[in-house]
Amino acid sequence: MINRRYVIGTAAAIGLLASTLAADRAAAQDKTLTLLTWNLPIYEEKFQGWIADFQEMHPDFTVEWLDKKGTEYATFYQTQLVAGTAPDIIDVQGMLWAEYAADDGLVDLTPYLEEHPDIKARYNPEGLEFWQYDGKQYMLPYYFSKTLMVYNKKLFEEAGIEGPPTNFDEILDDAGKIAATGEGRSGFITLNFDWLYWALFAMNDIDLLNEGMTEAAFNTPEMVDAVTKLAEATQSGAINNISWTGRWVEPNNAFAAGDIGMYQGHGAALFWIMGQADWANADTLGVVEWPGGWGVPNAHGLGISASTEYPDEAFDFIAIALNDKWQTTMADTFTILTLNETVDAELIADTEDPLKQETLELSLANMDKATGDWVTPLDARIKEAFYPELQAALLGQKDPAEAIEAAESNVNRVIRRGNR
């Protein structure tokens, strides 16, 4: 017979069972890793593939995936870092990682690579060096590109130019000739973030910092001369002024419009332009290295936040994400290099578009001539101290010599403050 005691007893038993099950479930799902990626929301399906593969190895883990745009990334990560909830696995562009590494914010991956020589063997050794600080490996390569010169064959022909320029002065001369072929045309445009323009100075034997990275090294007569010429070319319209004011969309759109002779950007940008402009193909565009073979790498790596509770599992996750299977998927999806030598060789061989194939091959050439990739935790601050002065000179707002002197003073101040 159902009485009050029976009902209460049954309810208590059910409650106890439910809470035990819930506690077990919570304990089983308690282990969580967070993955933060850099502006790749369209790759969600593949990230879920990484997670599924990882959970086969570690069924007791859940993985949360977050994605942030480049402009929001640093703010988000640093806020999370301050809150003590930094994502465990991070995808970082440029030299931002060096700042985190210097602050002991990243896990040193060197012991893991020693334990797993097969993983280390995947990579181009020069490529791995992009992510080494203080002799330690902090990130593993995720994807990579390098600045090249893309030129508009039709405009070169109209301007009577036979081939791509071979030195700095020729670049400016050719830019002037192209600009003179018609109203609204300009000869040259560049991306300007993350030091992507630095090949222009490297080909003039100018370096940003001295060897020990203890002070600015760019305040030289060569630099004043180069900036003066670039400023004059900008004022005359030979160089499109979006070079010094735009970020990503503006210069890429400007080149995609078809009225600019030369473009300084990396492969990813060129392929983006090819996606925007029907006319852009191997018949209309050519790609070469910048004079002297100089190029600025633009790379992403995967690393682990030092605050993670599960560094070993986080490394397992990275090892899966960067294995041949997933990196082949990455390379095929975006036609992008990964610095995984097997994957890159296959990608280059399988790429049918000759312009894209040429771009990929050239991006891996002359790795020793990579510039603009100073491994310093002060990278962002130096950039902020340097670029506004350069920009003022290039846009004709300041005398080049004065601007360079001011930039030198600013950069040295940043270094002094950083080395405090």
């Binding site: 640093a74 703010t75 640093q78 806020t79 870092l81 301050v82 700042e99 985190y100 602050d103 002991d104 914010g105 002024n241 979006i242 010094w244 004011t245 030092a306 605050s307 962002a380 601050r381 902020e384 506004p388 002065e389 920009q391 003022a392 846009l395 707002q397 001011a406 600013n410 101040r413 403050r417 405090r420």
Partner: protein, 325 residues
């Protein structure tokens, strides 16, 4: 009076129970306590939020400004290091400070224009309600949307402003308004004025409508001209509303982060850098939270100083809107 008469007699409460005057005073006191308790209950959520999101962060910034601090390392005492850095070495700080003061021009310019508009829509012109709506419409727009609209308007290649100027033969070549050092800040100020002017107009219109019409009638009888009436009646009586607008404008100048961020990001160079955008950059782009803390303290002190000056100029009545009038 009712209280006097009841105080001299015993009163009946509820079901006929009587209470003595002293007990009634006790009850009154308890009622006041209950009212006070209610006031505090209603205030506590707002005060808690204010404490959590305003007071504590501000105090934390003060502490931070005297430390060397990074998210992953223990803090160290820095003394006045950041303030010295700011004062002596950091040119960008001075540029941002100068720009912030220039940007404050938004307030007086918008107030002057808003007075004109308020007078216009307060007059008996046909369609004044439509004008009021149109003028006010910019204010509820999201600042980000305003920034994007004005970016397009200023665009060098496809912007409406360049198109009009070229069509009218005023310029030969398009102007890169937001990319040119000389024009970037005035261009952003124009956008800020456009956004806030509708709000100012409504405040000033309320002020205008609170001015008793008989003052104007008396002035007319005395032979005062319209101009004289404006200077001697309208403007003095609008003073509290004008100062309210001024204070709002100053606050908006100090906190106008989103408009700058969307339109110029502080550039070109640092031509449109304000203190608020520089603080953001210092903290989140350059990871100098300690230095950003010092900048914040300076901005807060400046802000309080300006508010006190404005209040003093208003005769201690800044923001007072006497609805009873």
């Amino acid at each position: 009076m009712a209280t006097a008469s009841t105080s001299s007699h015993q009163s009946r409460i509820g079901g006929g129970r009587t209470v003595a005057p002293s007990a009634r005073r006790g009850l009154f006191a308890r009622k006041r306590h209950r009212e006070l308790a209610l006031i505090w209950v209603l205030l506590i959520p707002a005060l808690a939020i204010f404490l959590l999101y305003r007071v504590i962060p501000l105090l934390w910034n003060v502490v931070l400004s005297f430390q060397f601090w990074s998210p992953t390392k223990p803090s160290e005492w820095a003394g006045l290091y950041h303030y010295e850095e700011m004062w002596v070495y950091d040119d960008v700080f001075w540029e941002a400070l100068t720009n912030t003061f220039k940007y404050m021009l938004t307030a007086p310019i918008a107030i002057i224009l808003a007075i004109g508009l308020a007078l216009m829509v307060n007059s008996r012109i046909r369609g004044r309600t439509v004008y009021r709506t149109i003028i006010f419409m910019s204010y509820p727009l999201m600042v980000v949307a305003v920034g994007i609209i004005w970016r397009w308007l200023y665009d060098e290649n496809v912007g409406l402003i360049n198109y009009l100027l070229r069509s009218l033969g005023i310029i030969d070549r398009p102007i890169a308004f937001l990319e040119t050092f000389a024009t970037a800040l005035p261009s952003v100020i124009a956008a800020a004025i456009w956004q806030i002017i509708g709000f100012f107009m409504i405040i000033l219109l309320t002020g205008l409508q609170n001015i008793p019409p008989n003052l104007y009638e008396a002035a007319s009888i005395d032979g005062a001209s319209r101009w004289s009436q404006f200077w001697r009646i309208t403007l003095p009586l609008l003073r509290p509303s004008i100062f309210l607008c001024f204070i709002i404008g100053i606050i908006a100048s100090f906190t106008s982060f989103d408009l700058i961020y969307v339109m110029t990001g502080g550039g070109p160079g640092h031509a449109t850098e304000l203190l608020i955008t520089y603080i953001y950059k210092a903290a989140f782009t350059l990871t100098q939270f300690d230095y950003a803390g010092a900048l914040t303290v300076v901005m807060f002190v400046l802000f309080v100083g300006l508010a006190l000056i404005a209040n003093a100029l208003a005769g201690g009545e800044a923001g007072k809107v006497d609805i009873a009038d």
